[in-house]
Symmetry: D2
Subunit: 271 residues, 4 copies
């Protein structure tokens, strides 16, 4: 199957689907354990999944499980492992000598320090400077790896020798996660606040998830990925600017069902 091929990410990394358990139908079946009722058509499953997603009924999505094999720089893996619900098996640099594989951004991939948002890199660097900086990264990594090799040759334990290895070096791991928590990971890591390097992995994974659970993915895009949360003050501002009737008409004309329109109106104007 296509999804079991290795998907290249960054200059030397990859994401590969190892295994998956369950699908859209499983999610619907699990939900129907709670609500009663047996097997239904694919179309009814999709409608149920959309309902579950927009009402934050998350437990049926936990019934689907993905396992990936990932190769990523340590600084990406460090962000990744902040998600604590996954199971992980990572290569151990105490046990194995790490390969000479570093994340080497091309000059045009280097970003300037963001001014407005202090944590995000934004905009390209002037190309002459960028080439120089990219080269500096390369030489620094080579020099660190040479030190690592000399330390090992000198008989130093691997667990101590690795201390000179930069966080740009590639690591590998198995990562198993249920769909609910995987979608939460994707929402955070596909966001523009996320560092571009981990976003590249999130995009590769999205392509796989979309094929395995297409109905869930559509519901996720509609109700989570491209959704926005409004505070009480924001809701009040909107309610002052748009009348209930105007919004109702607009939503009906956009094709939403009567019950969906009711849901929306209740969020802004109360019941």
């Amino acid at each position: 199957m296509a999804e079991f091929e290795s998907i290249p990410v960054l200059d030397k990394g990859f994401v590969r689907l190892i295994d998956v358990m369950g699908d859209d139908q499983r999610i619907a079946a699990a939900a129907r354990v709670s609500y009663g009722g047996g097997a239904k058509s694919k179309r009814e499953d999709a409608a149920l999944i959309d309902y579950l997603m927009r009402n934050h009924h998350t437990s049926p999505f936990e019934m689907v499980e993905f396992t990936f094999h990932v190769k990523a720089p340590i600084f990406v893996a460090r962000q990744w492992f902040r998600h604590r619900t996954a199971s992980v098996n990572e290569i151990s640099a105490r046990y194995s000598v790490l390969d000479d594989d570093f994340f080497q951004p091309a000059a045009e991939e280097l970003r300037g320090q963001g001014a407005a948002n202090k944590q995000v890199g934004e905009g390209n660097l002037p190309s002459s400077e960028a080439a120089e900086l990219a080269n500096l990264i390369k030489r620094s990594n080579e020099s660190s790896y040479a030190a690592y090799e000399k330390l090992l040759e000198g008989g130093l334990a691997r667990e101590q020798a690795r201390s000179v290895l930069p966080v740009g070096i590639y690591t590998q791991f198995y990562w198993k996660q249920d769909l609910h928590n995987l979608l939460h990971f994707l929402k955070l890591r596909l966001d523009w606040h996320a560092q571009a390097e981990i976003r590249a992995y999130a995009e590769a994974i999205s392509g796989i998830v979309k094929r395995v659970v297409p109905a869930s993915w559509r519901a996720f895009e509609e109700h989570a990925l491209h959704s926005a949360s409004f505070s009480r003050a924001e809701l009040q501002a909107i309610s002052r600017l748009v009348s209930r009737e105007t919004l109702e008409t607009e939503l009906r004309e956009s094709g939403l069902s009567r019950s969906r329109v009711e849901e929306t109106l209740r969020k802004i104007y109360g019941s």
Copy 2:
């Protein structure tokens, strides 16, 4: 209080207790919610705690919570964060420029690569070579940090510039963990298989835990830290070599109560 002082670990790290919730008495009170019965004496609390620990009744130990502020090298933090039940707030190298603080082992702290156990460093290196290797670590870290500074001066985003920083650089984090999972962390990280550098942190934390929950600590030492698990084959071998009566006598003479001796005998000879 003494436990709120910063305890130095390694060359530049520390562990500092930020806060604690609960104590031995709380553990006993939580257990008594399950078993019935009100407040008891300190001595009865200690006996109950010993019973809970040796019978793996773990939930009352979850009722006590510790928060620490830790400064440790990234390679130590990486092992630390494999424990997924804790809450963590770590300094972000996307947001802040990291300081020039690297773990620099002294020459006599360098270890050779273990032969029998492939992941553990063991034994000292010859002192002349060790001095040279320690110096090599120092120069490699300095060179990496100089590259980091140049990349920042060149306008590169902090999130990208950090990729050349070695895993030996110090990071800082708040770490909140309940006592049950903290003791599990300590059992694994005080073990001789653990890397000496994280073991140093585990020892500093042990000193704090021992003072906060002395009865729990004694029970942990007796029934977990210095315990050992025997497989079916091992149990059978022991049962062939020692008669029930001989072991019973020995245990009674060592001061164990009748019911404790019964527990032990049942583990080896069945009921």
Copy 3:
């Protein structure tokens, strides 16, 4: 302190704060470990907490921990324990004989079966019928408890005898939860979809949380409890009905800061 008193809930239940670790200042301090910077004024802490809450930076809220002693009917406890991140010690009906304490709703607290929403009770029952049904509940519980007592008198093991006890009987438990997950619990259990009986407990707990972490509670009310999430289709409908300029003016006049207004506009119109 007032919050350590037992707060009555339903006819025979209660919620009592046993202990708390941390406060608004701790949350701000934990966030500043990530962002850098030392202690700040209370006003700056509140602004930081509002920022964390509206941007879903959840980990600092995990640094505050609450322990409650709760007495609630089993059917409420069953909904409660679906929240898996808490620590729990519950009375064991294998070990103890349960008391004759049942949830007995007054006639005017009985609700009819919802028509629109199949899981929610709504509206009062006619008072003559209600009195009869309340009495029926009472007699059924008494009869079940009498059977329980006879089974125990007959020598049956408590663990088997309890099988006739209704889920309306009261149980007790210690419940320890961090603030982030506690607020998630409250968002779900204060919602009108939640069963009224567990909502009564959520309200009692809200009163405690509000006093312990007032700034976090205000941010929670504004950005979570009284917020609403809009899907892509809903956002598009709003963007067609309200121009960016109109909304900008309205939000500025309602007193939101320039950067907050930018955040809102980006959610609807993109950057």
Copy 4:
């Protein structure tokens, strides 16, 4: 496949395997991500799995996932859900009317209240009394269910009417759990301290697990299920009664490898 059949448990319950992800080979592959090295023979996989199990290297076992459909009495489900790492979808008695299915033990399945251990039922009741008590359980459940039906007929909301239903009524749920946590569940629930009714479910699940991951099951039986943990005092007593040489000879003759024998000796006599 045979394992997808429904396995009857108790008088009206069942366990049915819905899906499984991974097998012994997957566990070995995940471990080899950490240790390096590619695919190996089945025999080498089994040896690696035995090594992982006896050294508590638990993360590779998390890579295998099981989903079950279970029908069990509520009092069993309540014990079951104390295991918080699983994903659950349970039938909702707010949404659905529960069927008239109660756990009805046969007279000869009734147990007396344990004297030594206060929580465990033990020994049979005299058969004349037992028949009477079994009948009493039956009538009490029938009477409770009749009250439930009358409350529903009277128009009471399902969420309130259910409060008279006994915890012996059957519920149904999907339960998804990884192998590591599943084995922990089985160790606790196959133990003689566990209530016989949940033990019956644990035994049904054991039969399934054994077939799906035979090498892991053998390692689990040897190193976990039939193992025992010895405290420091117990280890010292054994070391005084058996000499290192005697034990070494016995273990070698029982067929353990030299390295396994070394492991055992280190547990008792130190290194």
